[in-house]
């Protein structure tokens, strides 16, 4: 069974058709909607990906969830034991941000150990037409500060900030002292202090870049 060993469970929450699936598709297979033949994968609901943080391998298990309100009562079952939650909202739909708030509240009530990442999707649509934006960036950052979460705006269509988002998730997991043990156990790669340092620096660079890019376009 491939991917049966996963260190960090990441749940994706968000309104149906809010771009969760595209986000996973882009991150795991680096493609968007109909631009590639679909024969290679059967579904994008679950995916595991190895990410290197500080010279350690962290395997992210990404769980897509059904966003329909019909299954809202069951969402508890999904995020049980999750180490991180990416709460998605559609930048062109203010209703989706209200839903996101609902999930954040649920998470804070039920899963304290779960880190929350707010993820605005469909950034490309907003960039094309500034009037399409329905969710104000500063409003989201204020809200994020309030709930101790991070905000990142992504576009699955162009791939912008998608990898950065999951790198952030992996870093947050690996650098959390509570998870120290799990990470060390599961990293099968021998650690060489010298290389791990340089990789650390590299990683930092990537995220810094991502962050600055994220800032300029918002």
């Amino acid at each position: 069974m491939a991917g049966s060993r996963v260190d960090c469970k990441v749940v994706l929450l968000g309104k149906a058709y809010g771009g969760k699936t595209s986000l996973v598709e882009r991150y795991l297979h680096d493609r968007f909607n109909a631009e590639m033949p679909y024969q290679n994968t059967i579904g994008a609901a679950f995916g595991a990906k190895r990410v290197e943080v500080d010279g350690k391998i962290v395997t992210l298990g990404i769980w897509d969830t059904a966003g329909s309100e019909r299954y809202e009562a069951m969402s508890k079952i999904y995020y049980r034991g999750a180490k991180a939650a990416v709460v998605c909202y559609d930048l062109t739909d203010d209703g989706s941000f209200e839903r996101a708030k609902f999930w954040v509240k649920e998470l804070n009530d039920n899963e304290e150990a779960c880190r929350v990442y707010l993820c605005g999707t469909k950034l490309d649509l907003v960039q094309e037409n500034r009037k399409a934006r329905r969710v104000d960036y500063h409003m989201t950052t204020d809200y994020a500060d309030e709930i101790h979460a991070e905000v990142i705006e992504t576009s699955s269509k162009t791939g912008f900030n998608v990898c950065e988002l999951f790198e952030k998730v992996a870093e947050g997991f690996a650098r959390d002292p509570a998870n120290k043990q799990t990470v060390q156990i599961c990293s099968s790669v021998p650690q060489y202090p010298s290389t791990s340092l340089s990789k650390d620096a590299e990683n930092f660079q990537v995220t810094e870049q991502g962050r600055s890019r994220g800032g300029c376009c918002s």
Partner: protein, 546 residues
């Protein structure tokens, strides 16, 4: 010794030939492997072990038969209960065969093993045992024996033999401990199992001789431990009598049965039911989810579930022409669960939750699908009118069986009262009708064509006859024409001869034309051509005669 001496005296190759594997495979043998090479020796050992398993199996079977014979011989209280159990088993089996013809074998195997383990279980439990039936060591069912062997095989990756033995012993010890604590509440038993997993994994990490193991190997060993323990303890831990699992199983099963009217459209699955490929995949998924119940260890159960989910993804891909997301997957899984109504579903979910390694359930792919299954069960248990976007009144009527939901609009040819098979039959009948109509039309066309051909032929013949009547064949110019024609116009001769091969009416017609031409020619000029008609005219005469 003597070989060694001889070897040193006579040179190297004599020595070598004597040191080779007894099997003659070309590798070196070793006295500690009874003179075989490592590979041959392992094969031999494995063969003997296999024989041992088989004889064990036979022994278990014999015991079982003995037990059955005794029960039949003395129809006491135990005999009565035994037959009652058998009855219910066969009922289950019937249900399963109904769902999956191909799965009967595994199902049978499961029940066989169950009944064989009741043989070994009953003496110790209720005291009124048959002394000759209890052997010195508890007889393991073939499944258990198999996992024991697999476990031992798995332990081979541990380099230190002592450590491997220690692991095996502690697993064995734990199994005995669990067997003696069956009276504890199930939560405590579950905790004990989890604690054991944890202590095992800690040991693997901390033990000095285990340092050489990679993370992968450790995980593999832990899997082995889990499988070994759960398979051996399946009897005790699965649907134990101290819980209300059994009632809840029945309740869930009834609930799902009463929901059988729910259509995939109500769940927004977007499954194209009328596609035959989708139907095939649906059946495969249903078979896989039912098979979950026939496996013993959580891993095996989960791998069945993973297979089921992969079929679901495949069928969603076929239905949507795009890979499915969770938004479509969960409804589809709910629908499959609804259709399959797997027996002992609640017990299976509980068993996996309680006794699978928690890390597996929390994160991995199997864990994801299992979570989805839990959601599906929770959804089905709490399903109400709102969730299906029906009015409460409608929902109640469907639930009570008073009314049957109408078939969705897009599927208008079949009415909603029919089951899958009937719909398929109706479709087939429709297809046959269409074919029939096509066939009839083809036959009509063919008949028409035949008539046309006949008419054409008659027409042609009539034409010829008319022509012949108008210009009766005269044989008078024959001789002069024949004499004059041959040297003069071979081309015309060819022209006239070739139609004759095509068919007589044409040839006749051509002949007639030629004749008329000839006569004209004859009138105007005294030319040789008139010869040609004669050659044909004899044929034409034949044709008309026939």
């Amino acid at each position: 010794m003597s070989a060694m001496k001889r070897g040193t005296r006579k040179g190297l190759h004599v020595d070598q030939s004597e040191l080779l594997c007894k099997n003659g495979c070309g590798y070196y043998g070793n006295p500690s492997w009874q003179g075989y090479c490592s590979k041959c020796y392992r094969d031999i050992v494995q063969k003997s072990r296999q024989r041992q398993i088989e004889s064990d199996h036979e022994y278990a079977k014999r015991l079982q038969q003995q037990y059955a014979a005794e029960n039949r011989g003395s129809p006491g209280a135990s005999g009565g209960s035994g037959s009652g159990r058998e009855l219910s088993f066969s009922k289950f089996e019937e249900k399963k065969t109904h769902h999956t013809g191909s799965k009967t074998r595994t199902v049978k195997k499961l029940f066989k093993s169950k009944s064989s383990s009741t043989v070994k279980g009953s003496p110790s439990q209720d005291g009124k045992l048959t002394p000759q039936a209890s052997p010195k060591e508890p007889v393991l069912s073939p499944e258990s024996q198999k996992t024991v062997n697999e476990f031992i095989e798995g332990l081979r990756i541990v380099r230190s033999r002592a450590f491997a033995q220690e692991l095996y012993k502690s697993a064995q010890h734990f199994i005995h401990r669990m067997q003696n604590s069956a009276y504890l509440p199930i939560e405590e038993q579950s905790e004990m199992v989890h604690d054991f997993y944890n202590s095992m994994s800690e040991r693997l990490q901390k033990h000095p001789t285990a340092g050489g193991l990679t993370g992968e190997q450790q995980a593999q060993l832990l899997d082995g431990v889990e499988k070994h323990i759960t398979t051996r303890l399946h009897q005790l831990l699965f649907c134990p009598s101290i819980t209300d699992d059994e009632q809840r199983d029945l309740k869930l099963q009834d609930r799902i049965r009463s929901l059988s009217w729910v259509t995939p459209q109500m769940l927004d699955t977007g499954i194209k039911e009328d596609d035959t490929q989708v139907q095939g995949l649906t059946d495969q998924a249903i078979a896989a989810i039912i098979e979950v119940g026939s496996q013993r260890s959580p891993q095996e159960k989960l791998s069945c579930l993973v297979r089921c989910c992969q079929h679901i993804f495949e069928l969603l891909r076929v239905s949507h022409d795009a890979p499915a997301s969770a938004d479509e997957f969960l409804p589809a899984l709910i629908y499959i669960t609804l259709r399959a109504n797997p027996p002992l579903l609640h017990s299976n979910v509980q068993y996996i939750t309680r006794f699978a390694n928690p890390s597996r359930l929390m994160a991995g792919e199997a864990g994801y699908y299992f979570t989805n299954l839990c959601c599906a069960v929770a959804f089905l248990e709490s399903l109400d009118a709102q969730a299906l976007s029906l009015s409460q009144e409608e929902f109640d009527r469907y639930m009570s069986g008073e009314a049957v939901p109408p078939k969705p609009q897009q599927n208008d040819q079949a009415d909603g009262y029919t089951c899958e098979g009937l719909i398929l039959m109706q479709e087939n009948i429709k297809g046959l009708k269409e074919l029939n109509a096509k066939h009839d039309k083809l036959m009509d066309d063919a008949k028409q064509l035949q008539d046309e051909m006949k008419g054409f032929r008659d027409g042609v013949i009539k034409q010829i006859q008319d022509v012949l009547k108008r210009t009766p064949l005269d044989i008078k110019p024959r001789q002069p024409l024949q004499l004059a024609g041959t040297p003069d116009s071979p081309i015309q001769q060819d022209l006239l001869l070739s139609p004759s091969t095509v068919g007589y009416p044409l040839a006749a017609a051509a002949g007639v034309q030629a004749v008329t031409l000839d006569t004209e020619n004859e009138d105007n000029l005294n030319l040789p051509p008139p010869l040609l008609p004669q050659v044909v005219s004899s044929q034409a005469a034949e044709g008309s005669a026939s």
